[in-house]
Homo-oligomer: 305 residues x 2
Amino acid sequence: MSRFEVNILGCSAATPTMRHLPSAQVLNVRDKLFMIDCGEGAQLSFRRAHLNMTRLGHIFLSHLHGDHCFGLFGLLSTMGLTGHTGEVVIHAHPDAEQIFRPILNYFCRENPFEIRFNSISPSMSEAIYSDNSVTVRTIPLKHRIPTCGFLFEEAESQRHLRGDMAQFYNIPTYMRAAIKQGEDYTTPEGIVIPNSKLTLPPTPSVRYAYCSDTMYSPRIIPYIEGVDVLYHEATYGDDSEPFARQTFHSTARQAAQIAQQAGVGKLIIGHFSARYKDENILLQQAREEFANTELANEGMKIILK
Amino acid sequence: MSRFEVNILGCSAATPTMRHLPSAQVLNVRDKLFMIDCGEGAQLSFRRAHLNMTRLGHIFLSHLHGDHCFGLFGLLSTMGLTGHTGEVVIHAHPDAEQIFRPILNYFCRENPFEIRFNSISPSMSEAIYSDNSVTVRTIPLKHRIPTCGFLFEEAESQRHLRGDMAQFYNIPTYMRAAIKQGEDYTTPEGIVIPNSKLTLPPTPSVRYAYCSDTMYSPRIIPYIEGVDVLYHEATYGDDSEPFARQTFHSTARQAAQIAQQAGVGKLIIGHFSARYKDENILLQQAREEFANTELANEGMKIILK
């Protein structure tokens, strides 16, 4: 199963509105769930997206502003009530444990799973998580407080074993895993069949980058170059460019300029200020710079694979 | 303006569902707003109910379980962003300040208003707030942790000045306030007109009681006797009566028995367990004990006056 999907649970800026909830996303990578940011109300959007909470093991917080983490307490409480076991790791700024631990100890003391904090340094890019499906790297962003984005790189898939060849050489089942990993096949008669004859190349791996919150910062380009999908904040439109700079946010046009310069496949803009009753003006401005742009929306599912 | 309204923002039990949000209510008493409990998502429901956040000065927390207070951080942050000034008082168990202050200091340090904690003792009944419109008293409840309900008693209204008499005696405007408060009127000729001839009795004051979370506890009856409206938790139905007792919650039938014994005007049941996909079974069981029962629902407005 090589699924790689991004579910948008919330894409408002600091003040949620009737149309948008605070920042939260859930990635489904080969049926493991990874959460990015956890704004208030995330637990309900999680269910609304028909995602299975028991598959969630890692939560990545971009920064410690309330609209990116106030949903954490409710989500973790509900995970406790619904019998989540094992461990949940919160990858966040070093302050997070000191700030959140007392409240989690007080309210979630009966939770049947461990909550572990993994301190990350938002000022540098480093691999903070890796398993056999995905590697997660931080992307240093430029905001009012230490903030990082996240790059999710899918691990390389196995080669595809050609059905016709498997049948032709009558390759035993127990040998197929090794062949998918690149080994040649030696027939019972001792003839070596090269792997290239037996398999097709793996489906290319995909990469997803999340960049919120940040002001326009071309320094992030090397980290996100050529990703399949970039989510970049676009809090404001051209009308508020000076205000965007002042508050360390981006305009939709600036987000698209980053996408253009980084040569990404597709741009999703989000983190919309409550002042825009209709974000199509933001979409229009972004598309002037980078055509393949879409507006984020609650309930949106981006299928990379 | 003698308005007295209760807005239900959330009436689920600990696990919110697609239909119900965690506990939160807002009372509008003569255009001042008072919040009871503040479950996750309360800030959005607040707006959805077209209530004006700038009129909110007091938040009353029944107990420190997450489903009754995890909306506090987001609400207070948004109040800061939307320019609330002055002071917000959180009336809660003494632990509240120790638990919440660090997180509020971290996330809401730029808020332009003061947040003050008023420690209440859930084990006794006492007046914890009073102004010229309303007095709020605690109601000791019986739950797993220290918990209290709240009784809102409207202050006595002024007497109504009879228009015909005001005209007949040509009573000057500046004297009318005193007459509404019970004074007699002396005409320029020195004749004393008794107040009873000039005014009609005030509209009766109303009382609202909020009792959640609690197991069946007839000891609360003296505190809520004859209130106009009682909100009482009804987490479970008859099917789960032993479980209700075990978790210190009530069944719908028990809530109605309390309403019946206390001779209240109307009962609203809420705090529904997620296991009931249709709460009409709870309503039916409650009505067998107390006919004037209604189900709480998000967006419900109960007009007492």
